[in-house]
């Protein structure tokens, strides 16, 4: 483990995050809302600190030896936290929040594409800061695509080695060239879809600022809006449906989108995870739409379908936009949405949660065990489509499953211990570890996280990064063995 190397790379990362503040600075200058000063300050601090770290820990020997697994994980985990701290500077200097915990919470909620907010009145915040807030989503989304499709399969974390062969780019054994090539390919896809959504939203009557901010929130499955009422503020079925479609797009494995754009749509339809995701989505929308309509929530079928399809997409892909307060929906609708919070998007998407692939594998493997009880002498393998799932993948998935549930419960205990009611404690930690955004109870779609005690906020901040980096990558930093020479 080369500490200097890790810090060197993180320095570069922080400097990059600082440089991206220039876009928010642009909007601040354009609107003249007084955010230009704080943003420029934040930018300078981040770039200078980052550059200093980058230069101070520089060593020519780094070029010769490739990155190791451990270094990779340390860079990813610590890098995310560092980006969160740097990204919190504009909130602090701009006076949006007065405590450090709020700044870091909001910033990491952005970078982890969670979308939980401690802002009580979003519309009162100046435009430059709001743009930065949404931009953290989009940057986090970029990071997560590369992380889940280039780094995780290579490190073999949480069963992600299943995707090793399916990711575009070369398949060399070295981590670094793979990250670079894969990243460039997938970012093109990401940027293309983002541009498309922005255009469609502009066409629907949103202004450029709102279009961009909502695109960032959608493509990263984040959920920060520029309005207090979230997407509901626009009262437009067209906008609802555009965002619904793009949330679903963002919830699907980006390497499948890449193949789709390459002219191989069959790959998408053949992919077992995508099929399950699609079937699950349609089934849930159907059930909830019927339940909501029967309950008399909406007068027309069209409205029921519109609000249901948006809300299921929003929760299933862990985006967290709201067009309706699902807390007043009937029990079955809430129960299904709660289940969606656990599932999340597909592996290799920007969505959070446990991922459809892992839920599938856990169910398949459980059935497989039952099958073996019935046919004790059978020799069988768990399969995804036609591909045999190797045992190490299953072990990784089960480990992930147990850790995820365990840490979610532990976080809920800590939040409850800080004086929050039990439903809200569980909902808040689920919303954060699953990178969803809104939960139920006192952190539902119409409430926010501002009122929580500082202990709870720190815990939830940590949960967001934990969930975003697929548990293992962060938790490994706490294993003593990791630090041994």
């Amino acid at each position: 483990m080369r500490w200097r190397y890790v810090l060197h790379v993180i320095g570069a990362l922080v400097a990059c995050v600082g440089m991206t503040m220039v876009f928010a600075l642009g909007w601040g200058l354009w609107y003249g809302d007084g955010t230009a000063g704080p943003l420029a300050m934040s930018m300078v601090i981040s770039v200078v600190c980052g550059a200093l770290m980058f230069a101070a820990f520089r060593d020519p020997s780094f070029r010769r030896t490739p990155m190791t697994h451990r270094e990779g994980m340390a860079i990813v985990a610590l890098g995310w936290f560092a980006a969160g701290v740097a990204g919190g500077l504009p909130f602090y200097l701009g006076g949006t929040f007065h405590t450090v915990v709020d700044c870091v919470f909001e910033s990491l909620s952005g970078f982890s594409t969670t979308g939980s907010s401690v802002l009580e009145n979003i519309e009162a915040v100046p435009r430059g800061i709001l743009f930065w807030r949404s931009l953290t989503h989009w940057l986090g989304g970029m990071g997560i695509i590369v992380f889940s499709l280039a780094i995780l399969p290579f490190l073999g974390v949480g069963g992600m080695q299943l995707y090793k062969a399916e990711v575009p780019g070369p398949t060399p054994d070295k981590l670094k060239p793979r990250i670079k090539d894969t990243a460039v390919t997938l970012w093109k896809v990401y940027v293309l879809f983002s541009a498309l959504e922005t255009l469609l939203l502009l066409f629907g009557g949103m202004d450029l600022f709102d279009s961009l901010c909502h695109t960032f929130g959608t493509m990263a499955t984040g959920g920060f809006s520029t309005r207090n009422a979230s997407v509901a503020a626009y009262q437009s079925a067209y906008i609802d449906y555009v965002i619904t479609v793009f949330m679903l797009i963002a919830g699907v494995n980006f390497s499948l989108h890449y193949l789709l754009l390459k002219g191989r749509p069959a790959a998408l339809l053949r992919d077992p995870e995508f099929r399950t995701f699609a079937v699950m989505y349609l089934a849930f929308v159907a059930v909830i739409a019927v339940a909501v309509y029967m309950d008399g929530e909406y007068r027309s079928v069209a409205d029921s379908v519109r609000y249901t399809s948006f809300q299921v997409a929003s929760i299933l892909t862990t985006t967290g936009f709201a067009t309706a307060d699902y807390e007043i929906w009937p029990g079955i609708a809430q129960a299904i949405l709660l289940f969606c919070m656990f599932v999340g998007g597909c592996a290799g998407s920007t969505g959070g949660g446990m991922k459809v692939m892992r839920i599938m594998l856990v169910l398949k493997h459980s059935y497989h065990e039952l099958f073996r009880l019935i046919h004790p002498r059978s020799v069988s393998r768990v399969k995804m489509g036609r591909i045999v799932v190797q045992d190490d993948v299953l072990r990784g998935v089960w480990g992930f499953f147990v850790l995820w549930i365990g840490l979610f419960v532990l976080a809920a205990f800590i939040v409850a211990a800080s004086g929050v009611d039990v439903v809200t404690s569980f909902a808040a930690s689920l919303a954060c570890i699953g990178n969803i955004g809104p939960g139920i109870g006192m952190v539902g779609p119409t409430e926010n996280f501002a009122w929580l005690p500082a202990t709870a906020k720190w815990t939830l901040t940590f949960c967001m990064v934990l969930g975003r980096l697929e548990i293992y990558t962060v938790i490994i930093l706490f294993v003593p063995e990791f630090w041994r020479k």
Binding site: H375, R377, V379, R381
Partner: protein, 455 residues
């Protein structure tokens, strides 16, 4: 006609014997002097000791004047090389090769293309799989053969005592089951003897009745004959070798509940990775415990296709005694064949016999396009095209001077299948399906062949 056979193993031996009986000029090549002596002792053939893959040996065997080369050693590679050299030495020769390995058979188009020019690749494993699948399609049939690309079926089966045709003379058949269905009784097996019947013969209880019919009418005919067909769904395959795997692959769909039993761990893993629905079980086929555990008494069919025929036979007997409805066993040794039915196994399949049958298609003189042995080898069904200048064209069926013991079952004119009556007249290019006892085959061939053709 000169035929060169490379390989005097079981297949080579039997083909040589069959062809020698039919007065063909046969040369057998093999490395082993014992195998050659065995062939020479039983049949009137010329033998040459040497490697079949060597062009020198092929030249010695008179490849330049030969009409057909059969490469039927147990080695795919030697068979291939023999065909390549035969192609170079005499491009006009008909080359038939027995090739089993998937690595070659998956590239059939290359092997049958211009450069190698193999006329037909015979894959006995594949044919065994097909014949098991056919048996499954009509459970209860003793034997099923297909002709005219699968349009005509020749079924052999026991009729239940309450069937309307039992006790009837063949000439009364149409009045018993209706005049609209095309059905021709091809043969009866009574007390283990095969009878090619005439209109005066009666169908008796306990006879195995062989009849030809259009595949589209098969269901109606079976119903009118009073045969109840219970579909096969629960299947157990014993032995996960090449044949077992291919069979399981063919049954890998929603309709069948298939289990495949195999005793090697590695092979089990191979199977479970490639098969989707069939259940792969590891264990010995002769272990009663595992058969009971997997409810062998509920099986509609148990198919034993391991490489070891004794295991196959014992497994089938065991399965039968535990209550399996029907059993199929794979046998290699021809000596066991007469045993199978008396001891209570329902069907046997034999890769070598399949290979011999396929090879015979191509050797028949004239324009006989396919032939199948029925009831072991006592009779053959032949498929033939009536050539324009053949003496049979223009004649009514009843006027053909076919020897007794041979019968025209049906013919195909264009796409139509015609079940003939005595006064049906044969037109040029009709495809005839003929059944004949073995002794009469040369006579039937003579009737079918044009007068001007000499060998």
């Amino acid at each position: 006609m000169r035929i060169i056979i490379v390989g005097a193993g079981e297949v080579g031996f039997h083909i040589a014997q069959r062809l020698a009986v039919e007065n063909k000029e046969v040369v057998v090549i093999d490395k082993s002097p014992e195998a050659l002596r065995k062939v020479a002792e039983t049949s009137d053939v010329q033998t040459i000791q040497g490697a079949g893959s060597s062009p020198e040996v092929l030249e010695d065997a008179g490849i330049a004047q030969a009409d057909i080369l059969l490469a039927v050693t147990d080695s795919d590679e030697i068979n291939l090389i023999a065909c390549v050299f035969a192609n170079l030495l005499n491009p006009n020769i008909t080359k038939l090769a027995r090739i089993r390995a998937g690595i070659y058979t998956n590239y059939k188009h290359l092997l049958t293309g211009d450069s190698v020019g193999i006329t037909k690749i015979i894959n006995p494993d594949e044919e065994v799989v097909n014949s098991v699948l056919r048996l499954m399609s009509v459970p209860g049939a003793v034997e099923i053969n297909e002709f005219a690309g699968g349009k005509i079926r020749l079924l052999g089966m026991y009729l239940p005592p309450e069937s309307p045709v039992v006790g009837a003379r063949l000439m009364e058949l149409r009045s018993r089951i209706g005049n609209d269905l095309g059905l021709v009784i091809a043969a009866l097996v009574r007390d283990d003897k095969l009878i090619i019947p005439s209109g005066m013969d009666r169908i008796q209880e306990g006879d195995v009745v062989y009849f030809a019919c259009d595949i589209r009418e098969q269901e109606d005919i079976l119903r009118r004959l009073g045969v109840h067909v219970e579909p096969v769904r629960e299947v157990m395959i014993v032995g996960g070798g090449n044949i077992g795997y291919k069979l399981a692959k063919a049954l890998d769909n929603k309709y069948y509940h298939t289990r495949i039993l195999e005793n090697r761990q590695k092979r089990c893993e191979f199977l479970s990775e490639r098969l989707d629905r069939p259940i792969v079980l590891m264990g010995d086929a002769t272990d009663q415990e595992i058969l009971r555990e997997e409810n062998v008494h509920d099986m509609d069919m148990v198919i034993a296709v391991t490489g070891d025929e004794e295991t196959n036979i014992l497994t089938c007997l065991l399965a039968k005694s535990l209550g399996a409805k029907r059993t199929v066993t794979r046998v290699n040794n021809f000596g066991y064949m007469p045993l199978i039915e008396p001891i209570g196994i329902d069907y046997l399949v034999c890769p070598r016999l399949s290979a011999i049958n396929s090879l015979l298609h191509y050797i028949r003189r004239g324009r006989i396009i396919s032939s199948v042995s029925i009831k072991g080898e006592e009779a053959e069904a032949l498929e033939a095209i009536a050539l324009k200048d053949s003496p049979i064209v223009g004649k009514a069926i009843k006027d053909l001077d076919f020897p007794r013991g041979s019968l025209v079952l049906c013919f195909q004119r264009g796409g139509e299948i015609i079940m003939p009556r005595g006064d049906s007249v044969i037109e040029p290019d009709d495809r005839l399906l003929i059944i004949s006892t073995r002794q009469n085959i040369p006579k039937v061939e003579k009737v079918l062949t044009t007068k001007v053709e000499f060998f």
